[in-house]
């Protein structure tokens, strides 16, 4: 099995989850209603837990200790999509990002259940089950607010238009895309992208929202090869602030 290709895949998944997990956690104490405060906090915990599982597999493959890998890299060493690093914005912005990201995350793990890399296939089946709660949560609120008032609909629509290019950047192809597919490690970004569109389009069409035509949108790429927005490094600095005070502390 092509280990480099496998690691590249695991890094981008883990980094997406870690960074979005931290963004989600910024809603703790600030949610527009208590239930949403709890929901985003719980999803943060899930995301960071999922990333930990991915970093543990990377450790098996010869990478360093998960904490070191998660906390002691610079922004340009992260493989996450730019979608997940953007600041949380207003609630509607975080909700639309959650909707777009989690449906792709669910499908990615759905596909990874069949991975030829056994360890990944096993944990993917479990993560997929957990993500059902995330997609269910996202759908419930997008349906509710996407059919509510002119204000809620126009807010969601603006965020959907703004985030679609970033969401399409989730499917940036790996330099090892061919090997990943031919060795049955993962079905590939193109398949994921088309399954994702098939899944979200009917949900959006049940609301007053309009899904931007993906063919008319220029995807924001680069995250997978370490090109990031100005927002990632400050986030990493913040999430590692305590650890950097005393990196060798025993907890």
């Amino acid at each position: 099995m092509n280990k480099t290709a496998l690691k590249e895949l695991l890094f981008k998944i883990a980094d997406d989850q870690l960074i979005l997990g931290h963004r989600n956690s910024e809603w703790t104490g600030l949610g527009p209603i208590l239930e949403e405060d709890i929901a985003f906090s719980s999803m943060a915990q899930d995301k960071i837990g999922h990333s930990y599982a991915m970093y543990q597999i990377l450790e098996e493959l010869g990478e360093g200790d998960p904490d070191q890998v998660a906390f002691f890299r610079k922004a340009e060493e992260f493989h996450n999509s730019q979608l997940v690093e953007l600041p949380i914005g207003e609630y509607s912005f975080s909700l639309i990002r959650h909707f777009l990201y989690d449906h792709s995350d669910f499908l990615r793990f759905d596909m990874l259940r069949n991975s030829s890399y056994e360890l990944l296939a096993q944990v993917s089946s479990k993560i997929r089950s957990e993500l059902k709660y995330h997609t269910m949560h996202a759908r419930t609120w997008v349906k509710k607010l996407g059919t509510a008032t002119d204000d809620s609909i126009s807010r969601l629509q603006n965020d959907l238009d703004a985030l679609m290019p970033y969401a399409l950047g989730l499917f940036e192809k790996s330099p090892y895309e061919e090997e990943i597919i031919s060795e049955n490690i993962f079905g590939g970004e193109e398949e994921l992208r088309s399954r994702w569109l098939e899944l979200i389009a009917p949900i959006i069409s049940k609301t007053e929202l309009v899904l931007p035509d993906p063919e008319g949108v220029e995807p924001v790429m680069g995250g997978r090869i370490g090109k990031h927005t100005e927002y990632l490094q400050p986030l990493i600095d913040e999430m590692t602030e305590v650890m950097r005070i005393d990196p060798d502390a025993e907890w």
Partner: protein, 160 residues
């Protein structure tokens, strides 16, 4: 001579760190147990991948087995047969109910969101209830409201 069955019996005394009336065995978290040349290998299946109680569970199992005289104890996380909520035993479901939590419905249900609505209230047994939030105080619990007895309650989430 100890054997796997006896060890599993002992582990019935190790409780879930967050729901102290429920043993890890009844929760379905304890997987295969193997004894090899005096060493014990215990497989645990986390309820949620990100469950922060997993470390505590490992520690509690190790402590108990050390106290029983085993020096070499290995508790390893496994996703070989991942945990699902049907792995909770009938005894475990009863313990949850007594503790005030609705046990998860059985079977492959969660593809349908309706399964989370109208959960039977663990306080009054009524089904005129509604889902308030699929996310609760811990990853494994959802929050519901009972219109019959006008009380909020928690459910241990179905997962499969």
């Amino acid at each position: 001579m100890n054997n796997e069955t006896e060890i599993r019996k002992w582990l019935e005394d190790v409780m879930d760190p967050e729901i102290p009336v429920l043993s890890l065995v009844d929760l379905g978290v304890v997987g295969d147990i193997e004894l090899k040349e005096g060493s014990v290998f215990v497989e645990i299946r986390p309820t949620f991948v990100g469950c922060p109680a997993t470390t505590q569970m490992k520690y509690d199992i190790e402590s108990l087995l050390h106290a029983k005289g085993f020096d070499d104890v290995h508790v390893d996380i496994s996703y070989k047969s991942p945990w699902n909520s049907d792995m909770i035993t009938d005894k475990g479901r009863e313990a949850l109910r007594k503790f005030g939590f609705a046990p998860p419905p059985k079977g492959n249900l969660i593809d349908d969101i309706d399964v989370l609505e109208h959960v039977e209230c663990p306080q009054c047994g009524g089904t005129n209830t509604e889902l308030q939030n699929p996310f609760g105080p811990t990853l494994c619990r959802s929050i519901h409201y009972c219109h019959d007895c006008k009380e909020a309650f928690q459910q241990f989430k179905p997962m499969n």
